[in-house]
């Protein structure tokens, strides 16, 4: 089964300190719904510059959580919003990002439970 998250980097960064890992993942899981909701609103309002900025910010966080496919989607969204070229692709990309991050969030919660 495809795994969408990978805590290898975070575990190495935190030196396997479970308190720190819990802290960082907790912050991500807490902020994610707002970030996705914001992107959806920006898409609806066609605020491309704001959408670009939101995708840019989310990109780093996805990287630290090891959600590689999510990170790639955020990069694509950022580029399309920045160029305002191919914006018709954005609804699908943002929907896909939402799906992947939902699955990844469940995986992360399971990983935290094992620490």
């Amino acid at each position: 089964m495809t795994k969408y998250s990978d805590l290898t980097f975070l575990k190495s960064f935190a030196n396997n300190d479970s308190a720190k890992i819990n802290k960082y993942v907790g912050m991500f899981l807490s902020a994610l719904p707002t970030s996705l909701s914001q992107m959806q609103q920006q898409l609806t309002a066609q605020e491309w510059k704001s959408l670009r900025t939101s995708a840019h910010s989310l990109k780093s966080q996805l990287k630290y959580m090891g959600i590689a496919s999510g990170e790639q989607l955020a990069i694509s969204i950022e580029k399309i919003a920045a160029d305002e070229n191919g914006v018709d692709q954005l609804p699908d990309l943002i929907a896909k990002l939402g799906e992947i991050t939902t699955i990844a969030s469940s995986e992360l919660k399971e990983e935290l439970a094992k620490l």
């Binding site: 980097f9 960064f13 935190a14 720190k20 802290k23 960082y24 912050m27 991500f28 902020a31 704001s50 900025t53 939101s54 840019h56 910010s57 990109k59 780093s60 966080q61 990287k63 630290y64």
Partner: protein, 173 residues
């Protein structure tokens, strides 16, 4: 380095990155580290004269009305020219890095997995640079002091000889 230069401020509206960077720098350096989420917040605390500020380029990503990184950089350098500012950005573009240097940034770090290690290295580089600056200033003052002292000695000897108070200087006819 004065005590105030042992402070690091981190300014980033990404709370996860800011927290990770803070934890890393606290662990790897002997500096006191504080986190701020907006430029407005850090400017209120600049009276603490931090030695180093890690400053996000896109500070207005969450709050569109917040000051952006370049604006904050400009204000920091006005308040405390001796504070070294290191820009953080997800953009790996040379023109952006150059622009931040033109505004007075000491360095530019691209956000990613290696950025924490790079930030740690920059802290040590800044510390070494400031120490070298201090030493260079000390040696410059010493050299000037020695030159002035030597000059005065030569003048004294010439005056003594001209006034006849000394006649037997080896090698002088």
């Amino acid at each position: 380095m004065s005590n105030t230069h042992k402070k690091i401020f981190i300014v980033d509206d990404d709370p996860i990155l800011a927290e990770m960077l803070k934890d890393h720098l606290v662990k790897m350096t002997s500096y006191e580290v504080k986190v701020f989420n907006t430029g407005e917040e850090i400017l209120k605390s600049m009276n603490e004269l931090p030695g180093i500020v890690f400053l996000d380029f896109y500070l207005d990503s969450v709050n569109k009305n917040a000051m952006n990184g370049l604006e904050v950089l400009h204000e920091i350098k006005k308040i405390s020219p001796e504070t070294d500012v290191v820009m953080l950005s997800g953009q790996d573009k040379i023109e952006v890095a150059v622009k931040t240097m033109q505004y007075g940034a000491f360095d530019y770090i691209v956000k990613g997995e290696s950025s924490f290690y790079r930030a740690e290295k920059v802290v040590f580089n800044i510390y070494r640079y400031k120490r070298l600056q201090g030493n260079a200033s000390k040696y410059k003052n010493m050299t000037i002091g020695l030159a002035v002292g030597f000059g005065l000695l030569v003048i004294l000897i010439l005056w003594l000889q001209l006034s006849g108070k000394i006649t037997d200087m080896p090698g002088w006819s």
